[in-house]
């Protein structure tokens, strides 16, 4: 499998060339174009080896995810005996980043998933109240395995290494290494900071690991647009 991301960061387009028999799994609705020999199969977002009972469970989980994560129920699998190519793009403007997981596990905000290839396990992880406060919905996606995951953001993606502690505005978080722990707190500056700074709540990370930031935040976009609406 070969992949290239073009037109970064605002209107990024993912182009994937598949060798004969290779499979790319993508979020429903993400296809822009494909070679006509490539077949597309709709799958429930579940492990391919899962039995009937597991599939029922997957359907339930998919339904919950749709409700809370804004994700689609289904994924599309692209493949062909002769190989071929497919182009993918998310609905929002923003970047696409390929992350080789290499056996490590990472957590992503629920809307970040675009596509995956190779052995990747995806699980919804309940983040509790703090995840809800982090505006990421109550769930994070936990990705692990040896394959590659393609994630998308609103804005450009920057990687920050947390070495001790780092603070991220709750609307600008894309993902982080599962080695990091985080808590939710006010941005600082006492009561004034909480009420008037416009920063609201932030995520305070502790430990060693990578944090992925997005350079825009849909909450701010909505705030800015609301004043302009006809």
């Amino acid at each position: 499998m070969q992949s290239i991301v073009k037109h970064e960061p605002a209107f990024s387009l993912l182009q994937v060339n598949l060798a004969p028999g290779e499979v790319l799994t993508a979020e429903a609705g993400a296809m822009v174009a494909r070679s006509s020999n490539l077949t597309m199969e709709v799958k429930l977002n579940a492990d391919p080896s899962a039995g009937f009972f597991d599939k029922v469970k997957a359907l339930f989980v998919a339904f919950v995810r749709k409700l809370v994560g804004g994700e689609s129920f289904f994924v599309n699998q692209f493949s062909s005996p002769q190989g071929g190519w497919v182009w993918l793009a998310p609905a929002m403007s923003g970047a696409i980043k390929e992350i080789p997981l290499q056996g490590r596990s990472m957590l992503f905000s629920a809307g970040a998933y675009l596509a995956s290839a190779g052995p990747v396990s995806l699980r919804m992880r309940f983040g509790g109240l703090r995840a809800l406060l982090a505006k990421e919905g109550a769930f994070f996606i936990e990705a692990g395995g040896q394959g590659n995951i393609f994630v998308t953001s609103y804005g450009g993606i920057d990687e920050v290494i947390c070495n001790g502690s780092y603070v991220v505005d709750n609307g600008h978080l894309v993902g982080f290494d599962s080695t990091l722990d985080f808590t939710i707190r006010s941005s600082g500056g006492g009561l004034m900071g909480l009420v008037a700074s416009g920063e609201g709540l932030v995520c305070e990370f502790r430990g060693q690991g990578r944090i992925l930031l997005q350079s825009r935040n849909t909450g701010s976009l909505v705030g800015w647009l609301t004043r302009l609406l006809p």
Partner: protein, 222 residues
Amino acid sequence: MQTNILYRPSQSLAQVWLQPGESVMAETGAMVGMTPNVTMQTQAGGVGKGLMRLLGGESFFRNTFTAQGGNGEVLFAPPLCGDMAVLECGMQQWVMQSSAFVASSPTIEVQTQRGGFKGLFSGAGLFTLATQGQGQVIVGAFGALEQVNVDGSMIIDTGHLVAWQSTLQYTVGKSGGGWIASFLSGEGLVCHFQGQGVVYLQSRNASEYGQAVGAMLPAREA
């Protein structure tokens, strides 16, 4: 008319240089800036033509910018973020999505044509625009533009189509194995292009973006 497209792909701006007396026609509201010796005239070119344009998703009127007594410059941009491209017309003619038109040489006739059901389902709207004559057309897209040479056949999501050469044939069909699978896949309808020629794709789908952002905005009055 010489055109330079700056800030591609996301925030593109068309810088058009005109010789003395030369003109360029543009979609209303597309002008960003210009030198003071350029004058603007607003015309519909006849009620029928204006109405057809209105039906096609463009505006009723068009503005004509003319450089007076010297060289002039005009800057144009489409309403949404995204890319622009200059299409040469003459040997080749183009068909485009109705909202793609930004500006053209006055020697080009851009006609609104009914795409019938094909147009309706192809996401390009019920109407498409077709070029006639010799000159240039500036098209705008939502997202980055990709130029694709079709040689044989290719499948393109209907919401990502911008413009294609008139030599190409296309049919609108389902994306996956069956109608139910196509619906569940979220891909809806796709265009199957056949023949030889160039297609311009955009890397985003404006109505998907509109739904994603629009849903977060405060409710409007019915």
